[in-house]
């Protein structure tokens, strides 16, 4: 089973086979980061541009390290310093960058669907580093890799995702992939943040203690203060009183439960400090795996075959024609 995409826009629609292939490939890249010389020449001479419209240190750094360990050249564009602050549209910015022929653009944007929008209009590979509330595929892949390393499998595990599921792209990517891989997903949070429409993707639960019962894996989500206008809950204190993962709550879960968090953590809000620093938390493993996942994604996409090349027939008088990529119909 292989991954045959020109872009990584999300995990929706990927089969268990494709997901496992991605996770396996990521696993095989891990040892490079353990070497003395943390580099392979595979993407030598390739250019990767990261275009981040939302501030992010860890994801961007993770991609940068991944690209450089693959010997690619990495250019980082943050929206505050870019032309976006001068009013340039996303499309114009992306077109300008694409005209410089990068091999991949890594996009993080606050609008769901922004990478899909670009993928239809720009010629190089697009990697989604988080679009609005929609998906964050590399984060979910590194979460899955971490889970599989610790638990040996994903199929049949009880996974609890806790917090602001409604606004979380990490939650969406994870729950799509977990379902495809056969895990049992439970979504936990107040009714304002875990509406019942999520019922088709997992079991909706509004009681944290009850929800983590028998959990093998707990994925904590950040309470995003930036998204908190809208009366989803009155105060952080009250949220924390009901939904903070404390040592006492953890007792309901399985003894060997592992805890994931995409970071950055709000200590004392969604997760208690002693839990965050305790043995069950595998947060630093996630970060390590993040680099491996991103190396794998770059490897798979930067060398990806373009859409079927259409080679016009050469005639006797003309030189053999250069193969031109045929544009796919407008569908992401």
């Amino acid at each position: 089973m292989e991954f045959r995409g020109q872009h990584l826009l999300g995990l929706e629609g990927l089969s268990a086979g494709e997901l496992n292939f991605l996770i396996d490939t990521a696993a095989s890249f891990k040892e490079i980061s353990d070497r003395d010389i943390k580099k392979v020449p595979t993407l030598r001479g390739k250019t990767v541009v990261s275009l981040f419209y939302e501030a992010s240190t860890r994801t961007r750094t993770s991609f940068e390290i991944a690209a450089k360990r693959m010997s690619a050249d990495f250019i980082s564009i943050a929206s505050s310093t870019s032309s976006a602050s001068k009013g340039e549209t996303l499309l114009d910015t992306a077109r300008n960058i694409a005209a410089m022929r990068p091999d991949a653009i890594i996009l993080r944007h606050s609008c769901s669907g922004a990478p899909h929008f670009l993928a239809r209009r720009v010629d190089c590979s697009i990697i989604n580093a988080g679009d609005g509330s929609h998906e964050h595929p590399t984060q979910a892949l590194l979460d899955l890799l971490t889970v599989r390393e610790r638990k040996g499998r994903i199929d049949g595990l009880n996974v609890a995702i806790v917090g602001d599921v409604l606004h979380s792209r990490v939650a969406r990517s994870n729950l799509l992939a977990l379902r495809a891989l056969g895990a049992n997903v439970r979504l936990i949070g107040p009714p304002t943040l875990v509406p019942h429409d999520f019922g088709r993707w997992g079991e909706v639960c509004h009681d944290l203690r009850h929800g983590v019962r028998d959990a093998d894996v707990i994925m904590m989500l950040r309470i995003q203060r930036e998204r908190m206008t809208g009366n989803f809950f009155p105060t952080l204190d009250e949220y924390s009183a009901y939904f903070c993962l404390t040592r006492s709550v953890l007792e309901e879960a399985r003894k060997d439960v592992i805890i994931l968090h995409p970071g950055p953590m709000n200590r004392g809000v969604e997760i208690a400090s002693d839990v965050a620093d305790g043995g069950a938390a595998v947060i630093l493993d996630q970060v390590t795996n993040g680099v491996a996942v991103r190396m794998a994604v770059l490897y798979l996409l930067v060398n990806a075959p373009r859409e079927e090349l259409e080679v016009p027939a050469a005639t006797v008088e003309t030189a053999p024609a250069v193969a031109r990529p045929r544009r796919k119909a407008a569908h992401a």
């Binding site: 929706e12 769901s112 669907g113 922004a114 899909h116 929008f117 509330s133 409604l166 969406r172 088709r200």
Partner: protein, 436 residues
């Protein structure tokens, strides 16, 4: 020498007068003169221009009671001239245009300007709708009386809802003085806050903020209560949910002066059209679910929904070809409304008479304009419809300045063959084909 036009060989469908039969129609000096058995008017019509309506339906000129012509202020999207041109190309002889221009049509001067530009365009008749509140800000009543004198036919803050219930109450009361309906864009802004599509599993899956059906239904319930309180006349624009249809049905049963319209996109598309973040599926109210589409069709069938209106909302490519969250709401519809209404007849068992009613006498009556019939002596607005013409809608060929349509490439069956405004052919398919 009187100016005469004979529309011969077609089937006249005039629901207002209960006519649905093979008839010839004679128009003299811009007015409807006579209806007669096929061939019987030839003697009276000596010297008349003849429009061949063989195989066609001959209906009163179609009336679109909800369009946005964008002039003054947004001429890069559409002008009154281009909009009126698109109207006749779509078979419409009359359109009513909303007040969300720049400046807003909240005073007599803007109303007069619009009428002036419409006269100059000399295509479809344009009936302006005035604002309910100054600047559409929802705070203070606009000069409804002055605008009525200048020529508006209804009031509406469309584009926005009237959030202040107290103001809506006063508007319904005050408009009674001028015998006009208040046309309401029903959207509870607190509920629909920053939403970009219907709230439900699809919005969740796509990570887009949703506008729940309740946002429309709650407002409709409020406004129906206000009609009961004030005795005013309420027309609900672009109804989109099953719950809304049911509320209107009950209000009518109680004898309240409540009418409603539905847009073709709500009759044929669901929220699935947003898949892939296609901004031509972004409008307000948003596309809903299958069962809402069915309820709307049922509402049209049983008369709960009185009219079909396009909500023609032109936007420039720069405003639509962007990230979904950033794109403007709305799609054009003047040239696709009739073919889609015909689809209801061809494919969904709608009676022909019902469909024609929803596009002629029903909207005309709500607006109180002397249109939508073929009664003797009325202004000779006539649409000749070829119900069987098979064609493909190509938005690139649209008469509108804008190209934001979700129906590009759709195979259609039926279209206007000829649009006659005030006794003169304003648009014909034959002439259009010659130019291509």
């Amino acid at each position: 020498m009187p100016e005469m036009l004979l529309v011969a060989g077609g089937t006249v469908v005039d629901p207002a007068n209960g006519v649905e039969a093979a008839r010839d129609l004679l128009l003299v000096d811009g007015l409807v003169h006579a209806l007669g058995e096929p061939g019987s008017l030839t003697r009276d019509a000596r010297g008349a221009e003849v429009v061949d309506a063989a195989g066609c339906w001959v209906t009163p000129g179609l009336v679109d009671m909800h369009v946005h012509l964008r002039e003054p202020g947004y001429e890069y999207r559409e002008t009154i001239a281009s909009g009126a041109e698109a109207a006749v190309a779509g078979g419409f002889t009359s359109v009513a245009c909303m007040a969300n221009t720049k400046p807003v049509n909240d005073n007599a001067a803007v109303t007069e300007y619009i009428l002036d530009r419409a006269r100059a365009a000399a295509r479809a008749h344009v009936f302006p709708i005035g604002a309910v509140s100054v600047g559409l800000e929802g705070k203070q009543l606009a000069e409804i009386g002055e605008m009525r004198r200048a020529g508006i036919v209804a009031v509406s803050d469309d584009g926005h809802a009237v959030n202040d219930s107290g103001l809506m109450r006063r508007a319904l009361e005050y408009a009674r003085l001028f015998d006009m309906a208040v046309i309401a864009h029903e959207e509870d802004c607190g509920l629909a806050h920053r939403g970009v599509m219907n709230e439900g599993p699809t919005s969740i899956r796509l990570g887009l903020r949703g506008m729940p059906a309740a946002a429309e239904e709650a407002m409709i319930a409020r406004d129906i209560a206000l009609v009961e309180l004030t005795g005013g006349r309420l027309h609900i624009a672009h109804v989109s949910t099953a719950g809304s249809v049911e509320l209107v049905r009950q209000a009518k049963r109680r004898g309240l002066a409540v009418t409603a319209e539905a847009a073709p996109h709500h009759l044929f598309l669901t929220e699935e059209a947003v898949e892939g973040y296609d901004t031509n599926a972004k409008m307000n109210p948003p596309l809903r679910r299958e069962r809402d589409v069915e309820a709307l069709r049922e509402g049209l069938r049983d008369g709960t929904v009185d009219a079909i209106a396009s909500d023609h909302a032109p936007h420039h490519a720069d405003e639509k070809d962007v990230e979904f969250d950033q794109a403007n709401f709305g799609v054009i519809g003047l040239e696709t409304t009739l073919p889609l209404a015909l689809r209801l007849v061809h494919d969904h068992g709608f009676a022909r008479d019902r469909m024609v009613r929803a596009l002629t006498v029903a909207p005309a009556r709500i607006l109180g304009i002397p249109r939508g019939t073929l009664s003797q002596g009325v202004v000779a607005d006539v649409t000749v419809i070829d119900p069987d013409a098979v064609w493909t809608y190509q938005v690139a060929e649209s008469r509108s300045k804008s190209r934001n349509s979700p129906f590009d490439g759709w195979e259609m069956k039926g279209r206007a063959r000829c649009t006659i405004v005030a006794g003169r052919v304003s648009w014909s398919l034959a002439e259009r084909n010659e130019r291509h």
